[in-house]
Symmetry: C2
C-alpha cells in the first residue's frame, strides 16, 4: 500500500487546525491516495514540534529521495503556529492565496512546505466589522476552483461560523458568528448541561423542536437569553415532554435551533432570494440547510473536505 | 461580642444559594447584629451536611437554651437541597410565602428551621414561558414588605437575571435571562478569554464601551453572536484600542454591555414609561441602571441584602 502511495504521490494536502491535523496524499490528477490525521493541533504544539508531527502523520508516504510539495492551510500559519503567514486583507482574490504563503524551516530534505495565509477585514463606516479567518479561505478558494468566478453568499458552519460574500472569485466581505462555540459552552458548561443532550435530528420530535426554535430565535432574537433559561425550566416543569434521554435530546435540538436561529437573525438583511452555498460537514450542512429552509431560503451544499482539497489544489497547481 | 449577640438574638436570616451561604443574626427590631457566611452552598452539600454547615456558620450566636427561629430562602429548599419546599405557582402573593415553608429535620434542639419555597410558572398561550425562581421571590417579598401593595416591573440582575411583574404585592408573571452566566462563560471559557478582562466601568473608556454595546445589542440583537467574535477580531486588529490590560478591560466592558443589551432587547415590549425597580448588588444595580438609562428608561435601586432581610423578616413576623 505505502509503496503504491510513494510511487504515485504528487503532493500532500494538510488542513492544520487548532485541535487537529488532517492530511491527504494526492496524486497528479487531484485524487486522494490515502488520508491521515492526528490530534496534534496548533494548541498542542510549539514551533519546533510541527515538523515531527507532520512526519509522524505523512512520513510513510514520502519517497526515499526528491522533494514533495506540502500545502498547508489553517492555524499552522497563525502567529502562535509554526510560522506566521500574515493575513491578506479583503477584498482578496481567492485564486491567488499562494501569494501570501510562507515557507517554514524544515530539516527533512524531502519536504517543501508552504503555509497559506488567512484573511482579515478592518472595520469601516459601512458597518463592516473587524474579522479574521484561517482555513476557511482555502475552502472558499476550493469553491472558486470548482466554479471559476463564483459570486454569491457562502456559509461555512462550525465552531466559528463564517459567512462570506464573494464577487467574481474574490471575498469582498465576511462575518463570523460564534454559534458552534456558544452551543457547546451552553450545552456542556452552563446550568443547561443538566437538561440538554446532543441530539440527532432524526430522533423523534427533534427535527420539529429544532425548526421551531430556529424560527423563534430568528424572529425574536432579543429573547435569546430568556429562551436559554426556559430550557432548564421546561426540563423541570413541562409534562408534555418525553422522559429520560428523549427529553434531553429534544431540549438539545431546541438549543441548537436557538443558536443557529440567532445567527440567521443577524444575516436576514443579506439573505435574499439568492441561494446560500453551505460548505461544511454533512451533519452541519444538513442542519443549516434545514434552518435556512425553515426561514424560506434556498441553499446548496458543498462537502467541506472536497472544498479544502480543491482549494489546496488550486494553490499547488498555481505554484 | 458573641455574648451580646446571644442575649439580643431574636431570629436568624439565611440566604442559602448554590455556591454560598449567608447568614445574619437579627434582633427583635429587625436590626442586623452580625453577619456570617461560607462557601458551603447547595452544590457542595448532601442533605445531612446542611445542619453542620449551618451550625458552623451561626453556632456561636445561639443561646445555651431556647429555640431560635431560622428562616432560610434559596437553594436549600430545592429538590436537590436540604429538604424540598415545593414551588408556589404564580400568581403568588408575596406577603404569604411562609405558607409554602417546610421544616427540615434537625438534631440541635436550639434550631427551629423553616425553608421558604420558590415560585414556578407554567407556559401558556399568551407567550408566558416555563420558569422557576428560588431566592429572588424572597427579595421581591422584601420589596412588598417595604412598600405594601407594590405594583410594577422589577429586575433582579445576576447569574440568572429575573424580571418580575408585580400587581398589588403579587407576582403575576416572571422571566429569567441567562445573562450573568452567559457573560461568565464567554469571558472565561470561550476564545474570548484571551481578549477580555472583567472591567470596572470607572476605568477609562469602559463606561462608553459598555453603553455603546448595550445600545447596539438592544437595537440589533440578531447580531449578538457576530459581535462576540468581533471582540476577538478587534483585539487582533483594532489599532484604535489601548494596549495591554486597558485593551482587555475595554473589550470586557463591551462584552458585558452586549450581554445586558441582549437581555434588555427581550424586555423592550415591557419597558414602558414606568420605572424599573432594580434589586441587586450595588455594582450590578449601577450597571443595569446605566444600561436602562442608555435606552431611555428610568430605574430606581434597592439593595439586594436589604431586600432579602426584609423578605425573610416578613415571613418571620407572620409566623
Amino acid at each position: 500500500m505505502n509503496d503504491e502511495v510513494r510511487k504515485r504521490l504528487a503532493w500532500v494536502a494538510v488542513d492544520w487546525g487548532s485541535s487537529h491535523l488532517r492530511a491527504w496524499a494526492m496524486d497528479a490528477q487531484g485524487g486522494v491516495l490515502v488520508r491521515a490525521g492526528s490530534d496534534k493541533g496548533m494548541l498542542a504544539l510549539a514551533p519546533e514540534d510541527y515538523e515531527p508531527a507532520l512526519l509522524e502523520a505523512i512520513g510513510d508516504w514520502l519517497p526515499a529521495s526528491g522533494r514533495v510539495p506540502v500545502w498547508v492551510c489553517g492555524m499552522a500559519g497563525a502567529r502562535q503556529g509554526w510560522r506566521e503567514a500574515a493575513y491578506l486583507p479583503v477584498p482578496a482574490p481567492l485564486n491567488d492565496l499562494a501569494r501570501g504563503a510562507v515557507v517554514p524551516t524544515v530539516r527533512d530534505p524531502r519536504l517543501a512546505v508552504r503555509l497559506l495565509p488567512g484573511l482579515c477585514q478592518h472595520a469601516n463606516e459601512a458597518g463592516r466589522g473587524f474579522d479574521v479567518m484561517r482555513g476557511e479561505e482555502t475552502q472558499l478558494a476550493g469553491l472558486v476552483a470548482l466554479e471559476p468566478g463564483f459570486s454569491g453568499l457562502v456559509c461555512l458552519p462550525g465552531t466559528h461560523a463564517k459567512w462570506a460574500w464573494l464577487d467574481e472569485g474574490s471575498v469582498v466581505r465576511f462575518a463570523t458568528a460564534l454559534t458552534g462555540e456558544l452551543y457547546a459552552l451552553l450545552a456542556s458548561q452552563s446550568v443547561l448541561k443538566y437538561s440538554v443532550d446532543d441530539a440527532e435530528l432524526a430522533e423523534p420530535g427533534c427535527r420539529e423542536a429544532f425548526v421551531a426554535a430556529v424560527r423563534e430565535a430568528a424572529t425574536e432574537p432579543g429573547r435569546f437569553s430568556q429562551w436559554l433559561f426556559a430550557l432548564r425550566a421546561a426540563d423541570l416543569l413541562d409534562d408534555s415532554l418525553p422522559r429520560g434521554q428523549a427529553r434531553h435530546a429534544r431540549l438539545g435540538a431546541r438549543l441548537s435551533g436557538l443558536a443557529i436561529g440567532l445567527e440567521l437573525a443577524g444575516m436576514r438583511h443579506d439573505l435574499s432570494d439568492a441561494s446560500v452555498t453551505l460548505i461544511g460537514s454533512e451533519a452541519l450542512n444538513t442542519r443549516y440547510g434545514l434552518a435556512l429552509e425553515a426561514l424560506g431560503h434556498d441553499s446548496r451544499r458543498l462537502d467541506g473536505e472536497a472544498a479544502v482539497l480543491a482549494g489546496l489544489g488550486l494553490a499547488q497547481a498555481g505554484s
